[in-house]
């Protein structure tokens, strides 16, 4: 049981190895075509500790694998990529400090990797001030909503507004029209509340009751009596360490007769579906950013991605089947790094003076077909809102595994622009 240590130790070793690699003449020849063969440094704001640590660990592993693949193929613009990982403690204040360190001390070209929305929101102003391109992997709507700045982009993972909105047609057609929502009482839960209730109304459904639960709550049974009896579908998005309790107690509350249940896999990322108490989830539905279990129609890209990161067909680490990944989100790191690579190549990126050019190059991107660089599925980037759009998956729990039952189109996830970052100055 040394999951956390492994990543750190490995990245330290990798850093050391990268130094040695550059000194070794024959190997340096591989990157010789570049004008400068100094590495491109990508600051990785990692949730190594704090509430996001389970995500941080897998974001770390995915990032390492993506960088290895990029470097094996000759790096970016002929230069090797080096990751400078820094723990932000899943804390907004620390997040901003980490960005400053990247820009002023470590000499990073760009920053990347943040998941938790409060850290993104706390760090983005610093990115703007430092004029440091900041590629987040957060799925929050804050990028596309226009509350951040031109230096913050989200090209590797879709945002919650488009995810939620794309679920409403399936839920109302297949599960039921009378929905009760249970969500954590902070920004992430409020996004779900607002966007889903609007989207389900458009489908002719209605939200009967909205039950907000404080994020630090550890017992839930007392809230369940608020669920109206004529509820056809329960929509849940609980997150955090207490989520297993939530599911267990929901199961106990309903006993043998339950309504349909639809949830976001965020609730159970890094959690083994075979955990005691989760039997209750059998036959319920989940949104998945990327199917955790290898599906029958698995693409060669997903297969390659799993192998590169070290994830088995059940979405767990190949070295420890109990170590379940955050599969629905971590592809975002992989895809974002490939977008950074494509952007830097399009911009002819040489150093920090080209940061604005890099952002313009990414803003110019549009369709990104499914490929080894985009294993989750095809994407469409909106340069104005700095947000990418892509297909979403709905899976059903069958015999303790998530089986994909529906794939949305990209069109299902689109909504009108709320901002035009390209009109802002650098």
């Amino acid at each position: 049981m040394t999951p956390k240590l492994m990543t750190n130790r490995r990245s330290v070793l990798k850093g050391a190895a990268a130094g040695g690699l550059l000194a070794a003449a024959p190997l340096a020849a591989r990157f010789a075509s570049a004008q400068s063969s100094a590495p491109i440094k990508i600051g990785f704001q990692q949730h190594s500790t704090g509430i996001g640590a389970a995500y941080g660990r897998w974001y770390g592993r995915t990032t390492e694998a993506a960088v290895k693949m990029i470097n094996d193929a000759g790096g970016i613009n002929g230069r090797p990529v080096e990751i400078v990982a820094e723990d932000d403690g899943t804390d907004p204040k620390r997040g901003a400090e980490v960005l400053e360190k990247f820009a002023n001390q470590s000499g990073c070209d760009v920053a990347f990797g943040t998941l938790f929305s409060h850290v993104v929101i706390g760090s983005a102003p610093a990115a703007g001030e430092l004029k440091l391109p900041y590629f987040v992997v957060s799925e929050g709507h804050h990028v596309a909503s226009g509350m951040l700045n031109r230096y913050t982009l989200q090209p590797g993972i879709t945002d919650v507004k488009s995810q939620v909105q794309a679920m409403a047609p399936y839920v109302s057609e297949n599960l039921g029209k009378k929905v009760t929502m249970i969500y954590p009482d902070f920004a992430f839960g409020h996004d779900h509340r607002d966007y889903f209730s609007a989207a389900i109304k458009e489908q002719g459904g209605e939200v009967l009751e909205m039950i907000a639960i404080p994020p630090t709550e550890t017992s839930f049974t007392k809230y369940f009596p608020k669920i109206p009896r004529d509820t056809e579908v329960i929509y849940h998005v609980m997150v955090g360490p207490a989520v297993l309790t939530f599911v267990k107690e929901l199961g106990e509350f309903f006993g043998p007769s339950r309504p349909e249940i639809f949830g976001f896999i965020d609730s159970l990322e890094a959690v083994d579906l075979a955990s005691p108490g989760l039997e209750f989830l059998e036959g319920t539905y989940f949104w998945e950013g990327n199917p955790r279990y290898a599906q029958e129609d698995q693409t060669s890209h997903d297969k390659m991605f799993r192998e590169a990161v070290g994830v088995d067909a059940n979405g767990a680490s190949v070295s420890d089947p109990k170590d379940v990944s955050t599969y629905a989100h971590m592809f975002g790191c992989w895809e974002t790094l490939h977008v950074i690579k494509a952007g830097m190549e399009a911009a002819g990126y040489q150093g920090p003076e080209d940061r604005a050019k890099l952002i313009e190059a990414v803003e110019a991107m549009t369709d990104m077909p499914q490929s080894d660089a985009h294993p989750q599925g095809p994407k469409r980037f909106n340069g104005k809102t700095h947000q990418v759009f892509g297909v979403q998956y709905i899976s059903k729990v069958e015999e303790g595994k998530l089986v994909k039952v529906h794939t949305t189109s990209i069109e299902d996830t689109l909504y009108p622009d709320e901002v035009d970052y390209t009109s802002m100055s650098f």
Partner: protein
């Protein structure tokens, strides 16, 4: 759901919270009462109990009850031993100086927390309950046909939750008996009353301190083992119990068993009920307000003794 059954459900949930809180807070109160040490790392001993319970339960296997019983015995013991080490290595060398022990235990807090993160990992992991049955609860009402009993929708509890409440009561009674009826309890009370005199009467105060610190941590760990089949073990889980324990201990009076238990029931119950019927934030506000009121009007706590 009707108000009556909903209230019953809230009370039951509140009682589970109160039971665990009483045990945890008692540990904190005991340590402060006897040693005058404010143990900021108390919540981490709680976490340690839960994490050890997970390790024990998963490595033993077989029927969940076997692992649970083993955890019930081992987790408090190991957490207690760690606490004894902390006492010997940190608290004793700083001579139990109030400021130094606070800083020292803050350090212990981080050491324990980060060690758990490095070895156990960042996930929340469940321990299977030794038994768990859904119990539908009846409700009584004077209806048109007179007195009637029926089973309202959703009014149910879990046999394990009832066990937690029962177990906590038994442990509290046992603790009270030890403190008031046994020689060990007498020695601890003597040390609490007057350290110098106890020393003069040949009580090995330094050993008593170690044992008390271990016992306090053991109580927190025990509470955690009881709750871990309901909640999951997580490396950050010590934060809330610490905060609530402080609230309870301040309201109840540091060092008073009776006050601690009563305050735990008060806070646990009100948290369960207010957060359901009004708002969860309000229940926290009320708890904090109570602390403020107690500090202003009765600084020694409801049952604490005025300093002589």
């Amino acid at each position: 759901m009707d108000f009556g059954p909903h209230l019953l459900l809230a009370v039951l949930e509140g009682a589970v919270g109160a039971a665990v809180l009483a045990l945890t807070a008692l540990g904190l109160s005991l340590v402060f009462g006897v040693m005058r040490v404010v143990n900021v790392a108390h919540g981490e001993f709680f976490m340690l109990g839960a994490v050890i319970a997970w390790f024990v339960a998963t490595s033993i296997g077989g029927h969940p009850a076997v692992g649970f019983v083993a955890a019930l015995a081992l987790a408090p013991l190991i957490a207690g031993l760690v606490a004894v080490l902390v006492d010997r290595l940190i608290l004793k060398p700083v001579k139990y100086d109030p400021e130094a022990t606070i800083v020292g235990t803050i350090g212990v807090l981080y050491i324990l927390q980060q060690t758990a993160l490095m070895t156990y990992g960042p996930e929340a992991r469940p321990v299977e309950p030794p038994f768990s049955h859904r119990i539908a609860l009846p409700w009584f009402e004077w209806g048109e046909n007179g007195f009637a009993m029926f089973y309202p929708w959703g009014l149910s509890t879990n046999s394990y939750k009832l066990f937690v409440i029962g177990a906590a009561i038994v442990i509290l009674l046992a603790f009270w008996l030890i403190m008031t009826r046994s020689k060990a309890g007498l020695i601890m009370r003597a040390t609490q009353l007057d350290r110098e005199t106890a020393l003069a009467f040949g009580i090995p105060v330094s050993r008593v301190y170690s044992i008390v610190f271990g016992l306090g941590a053991g109580l927190a760990a025990l509470a955690a083992v009881l709750i871990v089949p309901i909640q999951q073990a997580h490396y950050l889980m010590g934060h809330d119990p610490l905060l609530l324990s402080f609230i309870v201990v301040i309201i109840g009076g540091l060092g008073s068993i009776r006050g601690t238990v009563l305050a735990a029931v008060l806070i646990g119950m009100s948290d369960g009920i207010i957060s359901v019927f009004l708002s969860p934030t309000l229940s926290k506000i009320i708890a904090t307000l109570l602390v403020a009121l107690v500090l202003v009007f009765r600084p020694q706590g409801l049952f604490g003794k005025k300093p002589a």
